[in-house]
């Protein structure tokens, strides 16, 4: 049995891969972002803003395979080459170097002497904002090309020992445990070089004080206004941390060096698809553009409402539908069968939203909370269940084992319930797993009519405000739930019917 269940579960993996590809294709339908004003050649700010918009959706990465993954070293090399050539991209590259900051220094400063003097001056000059962030150097030292080159040469001689990972890691570890002005200044002096360790610490620390310190340093070195103020409440803390981790997820390649094996994994991981899937798996679904909350938190809050309602509706439809089907099969061809057939077909044909709207209008006085929505949701599946149950019951009643049971003199009720129904229930149970996705779709409508704040209600609001991150996350969630239901229903089928199990496992052995 276990082998059968495992086998079925493993077969769901390629399906989930397919599901993720479909949703990924959905995200590629989205238009490429454009900045509000058209770009001119020298518009560095506009270009950076566009760059940022595109990177937030990984549009700078190739779709499925990255032949040459970027890291901070290749970025710095590129930028230096542009500056030496003094081409159209030079100004943009200088700005980028300044933004990368400390993480770029180990790859830039040691080579500074090999660069022709004019370019050397420009590069050193471009790094002025970095020195200002660190709080070192005099203004004249930073802005005059020759003196700036000299300044950065000296800086590297003095400070290169600080730009090592063990040193930074120690400082970050210490600052998570206690408040210290001195340590904070040390970390500010290595600038963005500390980001990797800061982010690693953000993931592991729970202490609000430490989080506040870590985010303070991170905001300082990146120039992003996302520091956590001390004494913030739990939800604010989670939102800020998740915001930082999402940002790091997008920008990591700017600040870290890929070494050895990391390069190989990066050729797969640094792609649009992998970034997106890994983000989804680890709950990094981004922030809702509608209200700025992390999508993951919102899903956790909304999904139980919808899933619970659908579950209840499934239960109701089984409780109502199965007896109807059994009764109709038992009285096959009699008025009760005809009546049931007519009612079932009619109920099947009335759309969920119509039922919901009618119930909402005429039953509002009753004010019965979850009862009316569940009734509205379950109507269609009641009829599907009844039809399936009737068909399988008729088939079961015609089987030989029913005949032999009767021949041996078993009571009518016993024959019906023990012999026929037990077997006739199997297809209906399997059907329940397939019905669930349909109910999930119906729940969207019911939530809207009854104003229930589940994922359906939230999705409709998201469509109004074009909150794409939420829509993608919901679509993915629904698909995963559906796949899980399919697997569960197949396993249940194997559980209830040994013949299915045998054929499935025997073929594997042969």
């Amino acid at each position: 049995m276990l082998a059968f269940a495992l086998r079925r579960a493993i077969w769901a993996i390629p399906t989930l891969f397919g599901v993720s590809l479909v949703v990924f294709l959905l995200t590629t339908l989205l238009p490429d972002p454009v900045v509000d004003a058209p770009l001119t050649a020298g518009d560095v700010d506009g270009r950076l803003r566009l760059d940022e918009l595109r990177r937030a959706r990984f549009l700078d990465l190739p779709r499925l395979v990255n032949v040459a993954p970027r890291d901070v070293r290749t970025t710095v090399d590129d930028c230096v080459a542009h500056v030496i050539d003094a081409d159209a991209d030079a100004a943009f590259c200088e700005e980028r170097l300044a933004r990368i900051g400390g993480a770029a220094l180990p790859h830039l400063l040691p080579r500074l002497d090999d660069i022709p003097p004019a370019s050397r001056g420009r590069l050193a000059q471009a790094l002025a904002p970095v020195a200002r962030r660190m709080g070192i150097g005099e203004e004249a030292d930073l802005t005059e090309p020759d003196r700036a080159a000299l300044f950065w040469g000296r800086f590297w001689e003095d400070r290169s020992v600080d730009f090592t990972e063990p040193a930074v890691r120690r400082s970050v570890q210490r600052i998570t445990t206690r408040e210290s002005e001195l340590l904070e200044n040390d970390l500010r002096l290595v600038d963005t070089f500390a980001l990797r360790e800061l982010m690693a610490a953000l993931k592991t620390t729970e202490d609000p004080g430490a989080l506040a310190r870590l985010t303070r340093i991170a905001s300082h070195v990146t120039g992003r206004a996302a520091a956590l103020e001390p004494g913030a409440d739990g939800s604010r803390t989670r939102a800020v941390v998740s915001e930082w981790l999402s940002w790091w997820y997008v920008h990591e390649a700017d600040y870290v060096v890929l070494q050895g094996g990391e390069k190989v994994t990066a050729s797969v991981a640094q792609t649009r698809y992998a970034k997106w899937v890994l983000g989804a798996v680890t709950g990094q679904l981004g922030l809702s553009t509608r209200d700025g909350l992390p999508i993951f938190d919102k899903l956790v809050a909304r999904a139980p409402v919808t899933l619970g309602m659908s579950m209840l509706a499934l239960l109701v439809s089984a409780i109502v539908g199965v007896p109807i089907g059994v009764l109709a099969a038992w009285r096959r061809g009699q008025p009760i069968d005809h009546g049931a057939a007519g009612i079932v077909l009619l109920v099947y044909s009335v759309p969920t939203f119509l039922v919901a709207e009618l119930l909402a209008t005429f039953g509002r006085a009753a004010g019965a909370g979850f009862v009316l929505p569940v009734i509205a949701l379950s109507t269609v599946s009641v009829s599907v269940m009844a039809q399936q149950q009737r068909a399988s019951m008729i088939e079961a009643l015609g089987e030989d084992y029913v005949r032999s049971a009767r021949a041996k003199g078993a009571r009518t009720l016993r024959v019906a319930l023990v012999h026929a129904l037990r077997n006739a229930l199997v297809p209906t149970v399997t059907l329940a797993g397939v019905q669930f996705p349909a109910l999930l779709g119906g729940a969207f409508v019911v939530e809207e009519v009854f104003d229930i704040r589940g994922i359906g209600w939230e999705t409709l609001r998201a469509i109004e405000s074009r909150d794409v991150a939420w829509i993608v996350a919901t679509t993915l969630l629904c698909a995963i739930v559906t796949t899980a239901c399919l697997v569960a229903s197949d396993i249940a089928y194997g559980l209830l019917d040994p013949r299915v199990r045998e054929t499935q496992t025997r073929r594997r052995a042969s």
């Binding site: 989205l30 005809h338 057939a341 009335v350 039809q387 021949a407 023990v418 297809p427 397939v434 399919l486």
Partner: protein
């Protein structure tokens, strides 16, 4: 197979047969049932739904053999066909039934033929009351109102109930005639649903036949693709596509709905093709040297046609329901096109205007019932196995 429960000790006394039909079954029939050979397992390896749960693959909708397999279902099916044909006629002649311009008229010395369809600019701009007064003669449509407000049309009261004279079924929130909206709404529904169903049929037949014929890797891949696409609840996938595209249009809606429908068709076709390829007449045709295309087209496809027709009929009702739901949620086709769901969605803001919900809703239910009945009748008529 032997059921272990059949060895239950009986109570000893003879019982009457469960039902008269069971008791009357003849010996040859019993033998025929016992010798019925199960379809050969031709599974490509993956535990496909269709194989693991053959009975749930296509649950009988209204029960083909509710009582009297032949006559009742067929008669109801004919009624369904009649209703469907009527709706199609209404959608084709929507302008003749309800339009703000006459069918033909003579005005200022010009004779206009079918201005309600050609919509000449000079009439379009005219005040409708002036037009009625100045025309020498005019053949008027049954209801002299279009789905949109025409220039100069007397301002109808907003949200007024039907009065039996001007507005038979009342007016909606913008003072537009509900009857005209419903009549023109049939067009967007039926044309759209038929197109989406045909697109999904074409795609499903193509992919299903390929998977069924070639088997092996193609079939395994097909299985994964079908399972992936059908993992999305249809409404959710349509919502996702409509929200993701930069400008949702009728075409993207059509595309999204066809996308959700094809796996069902493809699964059906694949199953039938696999079943047919093991039959003796296909083997014989191959032995006679028929090309694979000829075998597919002449010997296998005729088997697939019947279930396809049924699936198409059921598909139309499903698509109509989906589209109505989308319109009701106000995320359907953009633009002010008349549609039943759009009229019904107005009821959400004006819950005293029952006619906004009742008339389109009733028509929607009638349409869906008609197509479902038609599908049932076709199923029982075309599929000899179900009798």
């Amino acid at each position: 197979m032997k059921d272990r429960r059949s060895s239950d000790p009986g109570s000893g006394e003879p019982k009457p047969p469960i039902s008269s039909q069971e008791g009357r079954e003849s010996v040859p029939l019993l033998l025929a049932r016992a010798s019925r050979v199960p379809p050969p397992a031709s599974d490509p390896g993956a535990p496909r739904r269709a194989k693991a749960a053959p009975r749930t693959a296509a649950p009988p909708l209204a029960g083909v053999d509710w009582a009297d397999p032949g006559t009742v279902t067929l008669r109801l099916g004919k009624a369904g066909l009649l209703v469907a044909a009527l709706l199609l006629l209404v959608s084709i002649f929507a302008e003749v039934i309800a339009s703000d311009l006459p069918i033909a008229c003579k005005i200022h010395g010009h004779v206009y033929v079918l201005p309600n369809i050609t919509r000449p600019a000079e009439l379009e701009e005219m005040d409708r009351r002036a037009l009625a007064a100045e025309a020498d003669w005019a053949v008027r449509p049954i209801v002299a109102r279009g789905p949109r407000l025409a220039p100069g049309e007397e301002r109808a009261p907003l949200l007024a109930p039907g009065d039996g004279r001007g507005h038979w079924l009342g007016t909606d929130r913008d003072g537009r005639d509900v009857f005209a909206r419903i009549v023109h709404g049939t067009r967007s529904y039926l044309v759209f649903a038929l197109a989406a169903v045909f697109a999904s049929l074409a795609l499903g037949v193509l992919l299903g036949a390929v998977a069924g014929l070639f088997g092996g890797a193609a079939d395994a891949l097909f299985g994964r693709v079908v399972e992936s696409v059908s993992a999305f609840p249809p409404l959710v996938l349509v919502l996702g596509v409509q929200a993701a595209v930069p400008t949702p249009t009728l075409f993207t809606l059509f595309f999204a709905i066809a996308l959700t429908r094809w796996p069902e068709v493809a699964r059906l076709v694949r199953g039938e093709v696999i079943l047919a390829t093991t039959r003796d007449y296909v083997l014989a045709a191959r032995a006679l040297g028929a090309s694979p295309m000829r075998v597919l087209w002449r010997h296998i496809m005729p088997n697939v046609r019947a279930p396809l027709v049924v699936a198409a009929s059921m598909g139309v009702s499903a698509v109509v329901l989906t589209e109505a739901s989308l319109d009701f949620l106000r995320i359907g086709a953009p633009g002010g096109a008349a549609s039943w769901g759009e009229t019904m969605s107005q009821f959400r803001d004006a819950s005293s205007a029952w006619w906004l919900l009742a008339f389109p809703g009733a028509l929607l239910v009638v349409t869906v019932v008609a197509y479902n009945l038609m599908g049932e009748a076709l199923r029982s008529a075309l599929d000899p196995r179900s009798r």
